[in-house]
Amino acid sequence: MATACSHYDVDRFGAGFPRFSPRQADVLFVVGTISHKMAPVMKRIWEQMAEPKWVVAFGVCTCTGGFYDNYATVMGIDTIIPVDVYIPGCPPRPENVIDGLIKLQEKIQNQHNTGLRDTPEPRPDIFDV
């Protein structure tokens, strides 16, 4: 919220135009804890987005599940959909959000002209406790 308002003004970076349909969107910001009940819905929204598309995990709950290690919570959305940029924090500072957005822009700039992206790094298998 603060990032979009006048003090930080995300419009300066060409990102202040939310589309309320996934079919018109280029980047999916996943904001907040994702529960197992919500996971299929989020995946469907991601599938509805037209290529090329990017995903930003916003906040520590979305990145890793945060402290919600319980029966209801997805431990990081990258177990379900590929993520391009992780913005940690609980909640992230507006500076972090802008930094993440610029990193995403750099990533898009450096992508192949074909629109193909590098194979994402495999998720480390740290959950075999």
């Binding site: 197992h36 009940k37 996971a39 299929p40 319980n70 029966y71 209801a72 431990m75 177990t79 379900i80």
Partner: protein, 193 residues
């Protein structure tokens, strides 16, 4: 009405239904037999001196591990290195759980006119996890009872649509029961982690 007169009014009217009562830190509590719940609840709502027209909360308690310190193995199974903290002693101790029953359903009533509150505890028999639904008296009990069913697996006799409210239909078990494994995961999609 103050807490003492609240308890005496109900106890005098239903001497056979009230198992016990106490007033902890100014909160009146009565413990009821399950079969007399609907009768007492109707009296609480309709009686001129009580007029408990607001059902503030409806929840349940699993007493199966009450008063027992969690074993170290319990915390080890969660994958976290957590040690339980020493319990802080209370000057005025809580009257304690309902003896020999595992589950209790707890109702919190409030009267908007009289501005008094009452907590009603219904101790359930271990063999029969069922209690009468209060949806006919307080419509707001509908979703609260569904939540208790979802989390604790206590059925409500006479509820119009008793199904899960927080978890998904595919979910097995009742997660707030103390015997639900703390590290059990049932994801709809994606890996178990």
């Amino acid at each position: 009405m103050n807490t003492i007169s609240l308890i005496t009014a109900i106890t005098n009217h239903f001497p056979d239904s009230v198992i016990s009562s106490h007033s902890y830190r100014g909160d009146a509590t009565i413990v009821l037999k399950p079969e007399s719940l609907i009768e007492v609840a109707r009296f609480l709502k309709k009686d001129e001196n009580l007029l408990m027209n607001l059902l503030m909360d409806l929840s349940a308690v699993d007493y199966s591990t009450y008063g027992k310190a969690p074993s170290r193995a319990f915390f080890a199974s969660s994958g976290n290195k957590v040690r339980p903290q020493a319990e802080m002693r209370d000057e005025e101790s809580w009257p304690g759980p309902v003896p020999e029953t595992r589950f209790a359903v707890v109702y919190h009533f409030y009267s908007i006119q009289h501005r008094h509150r009452l907590r009603v505890v219904v101790a359930l028999q271990n063999s029969d996890l069922e209690v009468d639904s209060l949806t006919d008296l307080w419509a707001g009990a509908n979703w609260l009872e569904r939540e208790v069913w979802d989390m604790f697996g206590i059925r409500f006799q006479g509820h119009p649509d008793l199904k899960r409210i927080l978890m998904y239909e595919e979910f097995e078990g009742h997660p707030l029961r103390k015997d639900y494994p703390v590290n059990r995961r049932q994801p709809l999609i994606g890996p178990v982690n």
